[in-house]
């Protein structure tokens, strides 16, 4: 069952909303102006539409700490979706998880118990997702996950109240392992930060790569949050004699890693493959030419040439100094589209929204998107791309599209 959330809409309203958003954080300050806007909106709504129940959304995103930039992108995307739909019956509350499990849990409970949120959206860090999983499940409050990739959340720890619209670690790494083996690459050396997500990513890749006949020549996990110089590890990889390098890094590490890989002149000896976060749009500008030729897999690229994506990137760029949206903006946007789809189908309140979410499917900026009712994880295309320079500007060229990638249930039994 497909339900389009909303028709085409003018970029102008979105731009206006995003601009307005860029001054004080929403929902907290500037009560006077907000009140006036609300009254005006309420007045026009009364004239045009039948009264509907208000929906309260709790955004559970980091606004400080290492992941603050990701949280901002997800929020921008989410608000873009709401602005497009022109809905004014949705209250958005925002809580800072600081990307810490304890804080995230406290704030999630506040949104559920005190603010009576009908639905939660967000969660960047996998550790925060594990922390809030039981609370959301027991309180029967739907959570739309807009980033955290921990495969268990839609695997053995799945819940009818947790719907993931971003990606799972398995989903991105498995196709990359298969693809790389099919390209005839015989041996790789893997590198990732030493934490659960890093291990899950490399594990999923290695299993698929070995199944395809490849050989893992060496595995190294670098101490998380402490390793800034990858020189010692690059030297080990070089000495291993592996044909290629496969890595997962994000944030500041992604930038440092790519630049150091480039500076050691490894490009000629050991081609670099990665989960696409390594050269994602957010970091590509800092990496510059150093990222040239890196091959990765990701569920969204701003360079996808589809009508849906072209309209989306244009709207976003107009409101953000010509910058292109990241995969985080799209995840936030699709979380909004999913919620709007559920509301448009007539769902009201926690239980109905939770039940409606997995039934939504549409074609958005990243291509066709649906929710797998067996796991509540997103089913989507995975794009294998090469990072290239296009007239001096770094961009992604799609090499291959793995269509409608669906995770195995991995022990998920929906209650």
């Amino acid at each position: 069952m497909a339900s389009e959330a909303a028709g085409p809409r003018s970029g102008l309203t979105v731009a206006a909303l995003v601009l307005e958003r860029s001054s004080p954080p929403p929902g907290h300050s500037d009560h006077g102006a907000a009140m006036k806007a609300l009254l005006a909106a309420a007045f026009t709504t009364c004239l045009s539409l039948p009264a509907t129940a208000e929906t309260t959304v709790g955004l559970l995103l980091p606004a400080s700490g290492n992941y603050a930039a990701l949280g901002q992108d997800i929020e921008d995307g989410f608000r873009m979706a709401l602005a497009e739909a022109g809905r004014d019956d949705i209250t958005v509350l925002r809580e800072d998880t600081e990307a810490k499990p304890q804080t995230g849990l406290i704030r999630a409970r506040k949104l559920i118990m005190q603010d009576k949120a009908d639905v939660l959206v967000g969660v960047v860090s996998s550790a925060v997702l594990s922390a809030v999983r039981d609370v959301v499940h027991n309180a029967k409050t739907p959570l739309i996950v807009a980033n955290a990739g921990n495969s268990d959340a839609t695997g053995k720890d799945c819940s009818p109240y947790i719907t993931r619209v971003s990606f799972s670690n398995d989903q991105l790494n498995r196709p990359m392992g298969e693809w790389l083996a099919a390209q005839g690459v015989s041996s790789v050396y893997t590198l990732a930060p030493d934490y659960a997500a890093g291990q899950q990513m490399i594990g999923a890749f290695s299993a698929a790569f070995e199944e395809g006949g490849g050989e893992i020549a060496g595995v190294e996990f670098t101490p998380f949050g402490k390793t800034e110089d990858f020189g010692p590890y690059l030297a080990k990889a070089q000495a291993s004699g592996a044909e290629a390098l496969y890595v997962f890094y994000g944030g500041a590490d992604a930038i440092s890693f790519v630049k150091q890989y480039d500076s050691f002149g490894l490009r000629e000896q050991m081609p670099l493959y990665s989960v696409g976060f390594l050269t994602a749009p957010l970091y590509l500008r800092s990496q510059g030419e150093a990222a040239m030729g890196v091959i990765g897999a990701l569920h969204y690229l701003p360079s996808l040439d589809t009508p849906e994506n072209n309209a989306f990137t244009e709207t976003y760029a107009n409101a953000h100094d010509g910058n292109l949206p990241s995969e985080y903006v799209v995840a936030g946007y699709d979380a909004g589209r999913l919620l709007l789809g559920a509301l448009d189908s007539g769902a009201e309140g926690r239980a109905e929204i939770a039940a409606a979410l997995p039934k939504i499917a549409y074609t958005g900026p990243r291509g066709p998107l649906e929710i797998d009712p067996a796991t509540n994880n997103v089913v989507q295309n995975v794009y294998i791309f090469e990072t290239v320079s296009d007239g001096g500007r770094m961009t992604h060229r799609v090499l291959d599209t793995v269509r409608a990638v669906r995770d195995a249930p991995n022990g998920c039994e929906m209650g």
Binding site: S64, N66, A68, A69, Q72, D194, E220, F221, T222, P223, G225, K226, T227, E228, D229, G231, P232, Y233, A235, K236, Q238, A239, G251, A252, I255, S256, K259, Q260, S263, F264, G265, L282, Y283, S286, Q287, G288
Partner: protein, 288 residues
């Protein structure tokens, strides 16, 4: 296999050079004023970010000069307005004020430069690799090693061979006696603190072509610098040099030889040093 060891040795030297720049000011200002400046990592971070901005306007080489000057000015101002007063109040207010400064510096960086990590390209002159023992090593990293070595030598000679150095050593050994023979310790403290802040800023701007700059570096850079200071023994330039080399060798060769333990190796060594020699590894050789 020799290529591998050559590479790792150079990596260790490069890391040691950066560690030395961050730690030198921390170590000497502790030895001199008994002040553990936990905000020293924030100066390193500011050096990196100011360096990036200056470099975008005027290029890398001006940034290499202007950024340390800027952090030196910030350091001098902090010393005159705040830290001088706090240094006399004992360790607890020092902890409080330096944490306060770290909090403020981190938020200022987030407001001014944003949450997305930034980086800097090495200057064109140093952007290629140099062929060494059959391998290619980034020229920029060799430059970092050379700068570290030159500054370490310069500081060592300055302290052992000049009048100013003699005054500094006297003030570290016995401030009261130094004052009685006419050494103006207050001015000396200010000078040392400013120089330390400048070196931290230089470390920051030199680090960004290798690692990226983010607002978390104020805290992440602090711990290794403290470890260098403690292992090397406080208050001496030679201590900072030795400490930086020891920590860098442990980190780099630990990562290469015993990766499973590399997350804790440096802490294990630190704990062992402190248990076996509670006053630091090189304590007692603190004159220089």
């Amino acid at each position: 296999m020799t290529a591998f060891w050559v590479l790792q040795t150079l990596n260790a030297l490069q890391y040691a050079a950066l560690l030395f720049l961050i730690s030198a000011g921390l170590s000497v200002s502790f030895g001199l004023m008994g002040f553990v400046n936990l905000a020293h990592g924030a100066l390193y971070m500011l050096g990196a970010y100011i360096g990036i901005s200056v470099s975008h306007m005027f290029g890398f080489w001006p940034a290499l000069v202007l950024s340390p000057l800027a952090t030196a000015c910030i350091g001098a101002m902090l010393h005159l307005t705040l830290l001088r007063r706090v240094a006399k109040q004992g360790p607890m207010p020092q902890v409080l004020v330096s944490f306060g400064l770290v909090f403020i510096a981190v938020e200022l960086v987030r407001i001014l430069w944003g949450d997305i990590p930034l980086t800097l390209d090495p200057p064109a002159l140093l952007s290629s690799g140099v062929a060494l023992a059959g391998i290619s090593y980034p020229a920029y990293r060799l430059f970092v090693i050379a700068m570290g070595a030159a500054l370490a030598t310069g500081l060592y000679l300055g302290i052992t061979r000049t009048m100013l150095g003699a005054a500094l050593r006297a003030a570290t050994e016995n401030p009261a006696a130094a004052r009685s023979i006419g050494i103006r310790t207050e001015r000396l403290f200010l000078g040392v603190f400013t120089l330390g802040a400048g070196l931290a800023g230089l470390g920051g701007v030199m680090a960004v072509p290798v690692v990226s700059a983010s607002s978390s570096m104020a805290v992440t850079a602090l711990i290794p610098a403290l470890i260098v200071t403690v292992i090397g023994g406080m208050g001496s330039v030679t201590g900072a040099i030795a400490g930086a080399l020891i920590v860098a060798v442990i980190e780099v060769f630990g990562a290469a030889l015993w990766p499973d333990a590399s997350a804790v190796l440096v802490y294990l060594v630190l704990a062992a040093v402190l248990i076996l020699r509670p006053q630091g590894l090189l304590a007692g050789t603190r004159a220089a």
